[in-house]
Amino acid sequence: MITAYKKNDMTSFKIKVVGVGGAGGNIVQKIYLSGLGCETIILNTDSQAISRHRAHHLITIGKTVTRGGGAGADPDLGKKAAEESIHDILLKIQNADLLILVAGLGNGTGSGASPVIAKYAREKNILTVGVFTLPFEAEGKKDVAFKAIAEMEKYLNTMVIIDNNVISELVSMESSVKDAFDLVDRVVKNCVESIISIVQEASDVNVDFNDLKSLISRGGLGYFAKGIAEKPEDVDKAIESVVFNPLLTGVTISDVKGALINIKSNGDLTMNHFREILDKIRAHLPEKAPIKYGLQKEGDHRVDSYAEIYLIGTTGKRTTDEVIDKITSKQRNWRNFEIPPGVRKHKK
């Protein structure tokens, strides 16, 4: 079933994106600089690092327990720091309609402070999505990351996991380290952008915040994807980017139990292409999964592309074991069998 919903007044919804620790801070700074319509907050135990960041709000947490020197690799210290500064944090997040928690897991602040914030957000009944990156295998910190995930699974509505190891397999060997990390940042930014695009940008046919709320409240892992067709002939490629997103760990589009799709365009999008986009995406989702879409019929003056497609899906509640099992599934250099061989060759 595909349902279209008429526009509501969305602009009053407050989306707050919180970057926790060094990695989370770096990503949230990029979101801040890109001018996405959300409030950004960066939290860190390292006062020097935070002074180099830019966001709407910068908070050094745990000034007493870490004396501004960072949490090292100790998640307990990160946890204590967040607990010490919880009032400052709550002041900034308490009126959020949707909180997006971004952190690199494995080190002290990200792994220790994020569960504390997730817990308080749950207590305050704030809809919260966690977007986390997992450390490289060689860092030997996966256990710390999994412990944090297991704890946050209790509090978060939906989690998106991006494994640095998968990213490093996907970029070419010639790519610079910077390119690889930029890709991670881009994936996280796409997740945030998908949400904002879906709930904050008014359209003629729209999905509303309650749709997002009901989708995200299903829990489990999140599938977020974005595809851009600069020209009409790029539509297929854009759809492929949406339906085959190997950058997210433990989830494919066929795991999704429900989805929201937003299509933006410069106004040239034809009805045929619009139907094609919906039909092709629909074809990849499980048959019973409900989808809702949003579209601005007249076109969006802020959009240069022929079509921009955003999709958010969730898998529904899973146990922590299932989530971690999905994530830890041995990365055996399998080909990405989910992608049709012809498409895979074309992508190469």
């Binding site: 039909d279 074809a283 055996r332 069998f337």
Partner: protein
């Protein structure tokens, strides 16, 4: 009634149960085939314990209406893309150079047990161990060393390791149905031993089972097990490809695959078929050769992946023949695709006379969709009845007297 054994085979889209007698001639007393959806079992792994337990419980309760049921042995057939195939050497001292002694079953058991003492990644355990070959002092490649004189016995074992959590889920699902099982059989190992001829195993065979969402394959040469692996891809991926290219539902894609799996069809049949799957007023515009191309592309991709893996494991020159089975092998031109990729003779396996006799030509069972289940049944039976040969299950020491407590719920 003779002692009975039970086999519960976990396939991608069904749970197959057999209850048979432990007698020289395989006599199956009961069988059941319960379809399961992908929320219950996915890629060989149990996702819903309760559903699986209900299916198994239903099956044994039906049998229990006919006969008192207390299986002495319960085997689980399984596959899992997380499986790893490793080889390990174990040794046992049998005597001294001055006084070599006769090798007994105890020595063999000891050597095999020692081959299990290998460091395995955390969170994994040995699901199955198969002694591949023995060396006695300087004599190598011995099939059964029992009774030989020697000082030092060495065994090379093939160890199948899997995630502990996955293995426990199989057992837990059966426990919920009131059955306690401790013996696991990796499906492709059973297929290699049971669905091939001695000659094929000697000359070098690659056996491939393409199921719904998993492909199992394994290699034997010189009658020795060399490699086995499970890949997370199968017939469902063909359906997904067709869905992607033709924007149709998975059910329609399945019908499309089925029709174009045939080598021969008339234009009229094709027209009639396309009409039958078209929505009213919206005829499907599909070119048959394109469907065949997409099916061929996916199968080629699977075979090329296997070929690459054989190459990586130095096995490419060990095989002279390919045998294919599983539901996807019903695609009539699959052997030709395999021949093109592997460049050796390829053939589709069909249940043979032996099985026809056991199941009285029952067409529901005698299909290559059920090859793995039939193979697991045969493998379990052979292990229980072959006293002369080395009994792997006995060596593993975890089968005897384990099970009971049925119908607890």
């Amino acid at each position: 009634m003779a002692e009975t054994f039970m086999v519960v085979d976990f396939c991608s889209s069904k749970v197959v149960t057999f209850i048979a007698e432990v007698s020289n001639e395989l006599a199956v007393k009961h069988w059941d085939l319960e379809p399961v959806d992908s929320d219950t079992i996915r890629q060989g792994q149990v996702y819903n314990l309760e559903n699986v337990a209900n299916k198994v419980r239903k099956s044994i309760e039906e049998f229990a209406k006919k006969s008192k049921f207390e299986p002495a042995h319960v085997f689980i057939g399984f596959s899992d893309p997380e499986i790893e195939f490793i080889t390990s050497i174990g040794m046992a001292a049998c005597g001294t150079p001055e006084n070599p002694s006769e090798i007994t079953e105890k020595h063999i058991e000891q050597a095999i047990k020692n081959s299990h003492t290998i460091k395995i990644e955390e969170g994994r355990s040995i699901a199955q161990a198969i002694p591949v070959r023995f060396n006695v002092d300087s004599k190598t490649d011995i099939k059964n060393p029992k009774g030989m004189l020697g000082v030092r016995l060495e065994v090379q074992s093939a160890l199948i390791t899997a995630k502990k959590s996955s293995l426990l889920n199989y057992k837990k699902a059966l426990e919920k149905a009131g059955i306690i099982a401790e013996s696991l059989i990796y499906q492709i190992i059973a297929e290699l031993y049971e669905l091939t001829t001695k000659e094929e195993r000697e000359n070098g065979i690659l056996f491939i089972d393409i199921g719904r969402d998993l492909t199992n394959y394994g290699v034997m040469s010189e009658d020795q097990l060399l490699f086995a692996e499970t890949v997370p891809v199968g017939g469902i991926n063909i359906n997904k490809d067709l869905r992607h290219y033709f924007h149709i539902t998975l059910d329609k894609a399945e019908e499309l695959k089925k029709f174009y799996s045939r080598k021969d069809y008339t234009d009229d049949e094709e027209r009639e078929f396309l009409n039958s799957i078209s929505s009213p007023g919206k005829p499907l515009q599909i070119r048959g050769e394109l469907v065949v191309q997409y099916i061929t592309d996916r199968l080629t991709d699977i075979f090329e992946y296997i070929k690459e893996r054989l190459h990586q494991n130095d096995l490419k020159d060990k095989i002279t023949f390919v045998k294919i089975t599983g539901g996807t092998s019903e695609i009539e031109y699959i052997d030709k695709i395999a021949e093109k990729v592997f460049n050796i003779t390829s053939e589709v396996y069909k249940p043979d006379e032996k099985l026809e006799k056991v199941f009285s030509n029952n067409e529901l069972l005698l299909t290559n969709r059920l090859s793995s289940s039939l193979a697991v049944l045969l493998f379990a039976h052979r292990k229980l009845t072959s006293n002369k040969e080395l009994s792997e299950t006995k060596i593993m020491g975890n089968v005897k007297g384990i099970f009971k407590k049925l119908f607890s719920s």
